[in-house]
């Protein structure tokens, strides 16, 4: 429900500095807002517009195109179940159906306790591990009904689910919704080559001197 915090604003400036045009940073910044609040608030979009010099309407225009951006709060755990062709062939639709019954909600909705949102999603590039799902974008492979129940049970009890988790260790841990990578890129000041300004035309030195 808010603008970016001072710490996040500093991160935003670092991201913006890597692009010749500020607006290029918009999608990463929308993710930053979503990481902060769990969703993208109107106030955050106004703030992002100020940061990259575009109107809030343009920020909304970009934001509304991409399905990962939620403009209202979702469950603490966003469960994305793939039903696309490879998963459909091996029971993805039945898994989704089971999930809907187990949680008592239809895909696209959130449980009353605010814990789970289910989505019926398109291919998530794990087709050989079908049927599969992600929880806050952490993968679970070859998921059967019982596995789904175990994952939900663990999350309800504040435990990290391990059954059918694709990764172990910190990378397999499920963060709050909105957090994607566990590591950000940082370009050290003494190592930065600098942006290639589209308005300053000159051949790269390594070509000229070759």
């Amino acid at each position: 429900m808010s603008r970016l915090s001072p710490q996040n604003e500093a991160v935003a400036h670092e991201i913006i500095s890597r692009y010749p045009w500020k607006k290029s940073a918009l999608i990463p910044l929308l993710h930053l807002a979503q990481e902060q609040d769990g969703y993208v608030s109107d106030e955050a979009m106004v703030h992002l517009g100020e940061l990259v010099d575009v109107s809030p309407a343009e920020v909304l225009g970009t934001c509304s195109f991409y399905e990962m951006f939620k403009r209202e709060p979702v469950g603490r755990y966003l469960v994305n179940i793939c039903t696309n062709i490879s998963c459909q062939l091996l029971g993805g639709e039945e898994l989704l159906h089971h999930a809907e019954h187990a949680l008592g909600i239809k895909a696209g909705n959130t449980t009353g306790d605010g814990l789970f949102t289910i989505e019926d999603v398109e291919c998530i590039a794990a087709c050989t591990e079908a049927p599969c799902l992600t929880v806050n974008y952490r993968y679970f492979y070859k998921v059967e009904d019982g596995d789904f129940d175990a994952i939900v049970e663990d999350l309800r009890n504040g435990r990290q689910p391990t059954r059918k988790a694709a990764e172990s260790g910190p990378e397999g841990q499920i963060p709050p919704h909105g957090t994607l990578a566990l590591q950000r890129q940082h370009i050290p000041a003494d190592r930065v080559a600098g942006n290639a300004d589209p308005d300053r035309a000159s051949a790269p030195v390594w070509l000229e001197q070759a």
Partner: protein
């Protein structure tokens, strides 16, 4: 006899720490970069051109030729790495980014050096959190070790690689939409011409767009040389290619095989690969190159995994994604599911795709739900013809006297997404029309069916 297995691009993946700089350096990593820097940029470009490295993102265009399309004397030029992998059935780029990010970084550097690209943007699909983590970590390591950034390894070659990440939209994988998205906009494709990225790309400047797997091959090619590289694969498709085989095979998985040599039959049936159809079932159909490709059948199994013969036979190798359906598959439901994907992912910029894909979904859905009408089959084909006029690419069916219609389809749309939605419709209708008719006939009989609390007639 099946061509021997060679691992060029997946060679490190069996190591548990394959994604670390230490493992990369211990297994010949950044040797390709060092060797490239000892050569002139033009010589590096020639080497890649000579290797005929075909693009692995879908269109299969040779990378060395593509780099040469940037207009001379126009600066700066950019590299945009396509890591948006979202074509149904495709799983290889995520694996390469998560498990060998340095190999990709090395490839980006070699491309920038050879083609004079001044800045690189590495666009990772939004949903791929682990790939983003691993690429960010690898970039941080590579900057610290002088492999990326200013004066790389003490040379006058300087380039930044900027990690960028998306937010969920299949269409952004299309190269001009990728560029729009990278400029912070809604990811809608641009018209070609004039917006060929090589001429007018990112920020209106010449831009090379390459796929993750394409770039991941560069280090190895430079180290071994194009001559050595070409001992693998076929003459027109050298090297290897990664294929994700999913669906009803005994061992679904991602396999690296010799390009243009290994056949579909070998990949699907050999013990060293997928080991045949599950439960000893019969094969019904397979999608050879991702959701966008027309379906193949038993008769096409002996084709090599090579663009030209596959295109002539009516489909495409596309994104290296083979989806296998056995005899238990409901062809109408499978067709609906693929079509629904394109209907959902249509960006809405042009009418035949925006309206057409939704109508295809609506009609197929009512057939599956038991409300199909006898005219629906013709209507499906008619809607398809509005998106892709003329005969749509399809596999031959000898016993029925049907010849193959070669790839690609014609299009009334801005990009190939719209025509992709027609592929499953034409494929399934041509081959499994009785299944559609049976579903429609069931309604025509007029048996009232009680579904929970509503009555459908």
């Amino acid at each position: 006899m099946t061509a021997p297995i060679v691992q060029l691009v997946t060679s490190r993946l069996h190591h548990a720490d394959s994604y670390t700089l230490a493992r990369f350096e211990a297994t010949g990593g950044y040797e390709g970069l060092r060797k490239a820097l000892s050569m002139t940029p033009a010589a590096v470009h020639d080497e890649i051109r000579a290797a005929t490295l075909l693009g692995r993102g879908g269109a299969g265009f040779p990378a060395g030729v593509k780099w040469g399309f940037t207009p001379p004397g126009v600066w700066p030029r950019y590299l945009v790495v396509n890591g948006d992998e979202s074509e149904p059935g495709t799983y290889k780029d995520r694996m390469l980014m998560e498990r060998d990010p340095h190999q990709l970084i090395e490839g980006c550097l070699i491309a920038c050096y050879a083609a004079g690209l001044s800045q690189c943007f590495l666009y990772v699909r939004g949903e791929m959190a682990l790939a983003q983590t691993r690429v960010a970590t690898a970039l941080n390591e590579a900057y610290a070790a002088q492999y990326v950034g200013r004066n790389i390894l003490g040379s006058n070659f300087s380039v930044d690689i900027v990690l960028h990440w998306g937010a969920g939209a299949y269409i952004v994988g299309e190269e001009t939409a990728l560029i729009e998205s990278l400029e912070g906009n809604r990811g809608m494709p641009r018209l070609k011409p004039p917006y060929f990225p090589a001429a007018i790309g990112l920020y209106g400047k010449p831009t090379v767009v390459n796929n993750v797997e394409t770039l991941s091959n560069l280090g190895g090619i430079i180290v071994r040389g194009s001559e050595d590289y070409k001992q693998y694969g076929s003459e027109s498709s050298p090297g290897t290619r990664m294929f994700a085989v999913s669906g009803h095979v005994r061992r679904p998985g991602v396999y690296e095989v010799q390009h243009g040599v290994t056949t579909f039959r070998e990949l699907l049936y050999d013990e060293q690969f997928c080991g045949g159809i599950r439960n000893g079932n019969a094969l019904k159909a397979f999608i050879p190159g991702g959701g966008s490709s027309p379906w193949f059948f038993e008769e096409q199994l002996d084709l090599p995994l090579e663009a030209r013969p596959v295109g002539g036979a009516g489909s495409m190798l596309g994104s290296g994604a083979i989806v296998v359906m056995d005899e238990t598959t409901d062809a109408v439901k499978a067709c609906l599911r693929v079509v629904r994907f394109y209907a959902r992912e249509s960006c809405g910029k042009c009418t035949p795709c925006r309206e057409g894909t939704s109508w295809l979904e609506t009609i197929l859905q009512r057939i599956v739900d038991g409300h199909g009408r006898p005219a629906d089959i013709d209507m499906l084909l008619d809607v398809g013809d509005n998106i892709s006029p003329g005969p749509y690419p399809a596999a031959s069916w000898e016993s029925e006297g049907l010849a193959a219609v070669p790839f690609p389809p014609k299009q009334t749309t801005i990009c190939p997404l719209g025509p992709s939605a027609v592929a499953p419709v034409v494929s399934a209708l041509r081959r499994f029309r009785p299944e559609f008719e049976a579903k429609i006939r069931r309604r025509a009989l007029g048996i009232p069916v009680r579904v929970e609390d509503s009555t459908h007639v």
